[in-house]
């Protein structure tokens, strides 16, 4: 085994793991609303309006510290979308039964789901700037 196994197939995964751990550490330890090194949303920065994703960084911070309610207050859509996205990215590996996979692909992540996501995102986006 080389000391710096750039070419090995595990190197990519090690790199990703290091990145993820670093990311989680930074987001757990620092408050995005206080740390100047967190990227801010251009829309919010220049217009003062919230986009549909604004508050996600803060939500991640509170989520990592186990403060569900604070995370919800930062961006409820992010909290709702998180399990949906997690399942969508992994279901092919979790479920081997093609019937379940087809059901998920065509019903849970199909056309109606797509329209619904679009509508929910746009309504949430507009709504949160009115309230």
């Amino acid at each position: 085994m080389e000391l710096w196994p750039v070419g090995s197939k595990y190197f990519k995964y090690v790199l990703i793991l290091v990145g993820v751990v670093f990311f989680l550490y930074v987001y757990k330890e620092f408050k995005p609303e206080e740390g100047s090194f967190f990227p801010s949303c251009p829309l919010k920065k220049y217009t003062g309006l919230d986009c549909a994703g604004c508050g996600s960084q803060r939500a991640i911070h509170y989520l990592l510290n186990g403060e569900l309610l604070s995370a919800w207050q930062m961006n409820p859509l992010f909290l709702i979308a998180l399990p949906y996205i997690a399942l969508g990215l992994t279901y092919k590996r979790i479920f081997k039964d093609p019937k379940i996979c087809l059901f998920l692909r065509d019903k849970i992540y199909g056309l109606k789901a797509t329209y619904l996501s679009l509508i929910v995102i746009v309504i949430f986006w507009i709504g949160r700037n009115l309230v």
Binding site: C101, Y109, Y115
Partner: protein
């Protein structure tokens, strides 16, 4: 990004292309709303075209959906990397003196 491999349909157009819905939503709420929306709109085109039997159209929409989602993803990634670089260049020491 994994491909749509083991899930095939009974219809005549082969394997339904990946619609990028999940990735588009992720891009929408984590970084780049316009690109994410473009991805979701194309995701809807993938499924509606496929349901009508327009397999070429579905494949084209899938390509578009993937394109916008990836643009959003890499733009977001680049943004984060640039932010980290700026932070490092400006000096971790300065930030620490500032009370971290």
């Amino acid at each position: 990004m994994e491909e749509n491999t083991n899930v095939s349909t009974e219809t005549g157009g082969g394997v339904k292309p990946k619609n990028w819905l999940v990735e588009s939503i992720l891009v929408t709420i984590l970084c780049c709303l316009p690109f994410g929306i473009a991805g979701i709109v194309n995701a809807s085109k993938v499924d509606s075209a496929w349901a009508q039997g327009n397999y070429d159209e579905a494949n084209r929409a899938a390509e578009q959906a993937g394109k916008w989602t990836k643009i959003g993803f890499f733009l977001g990634l680049a943004g984060v990397v640039i932010y980290i670089l700026i932070f490092v260049v400006m000096g971790v020491g300065g930030a620490m003196a500032g009370g971290f």
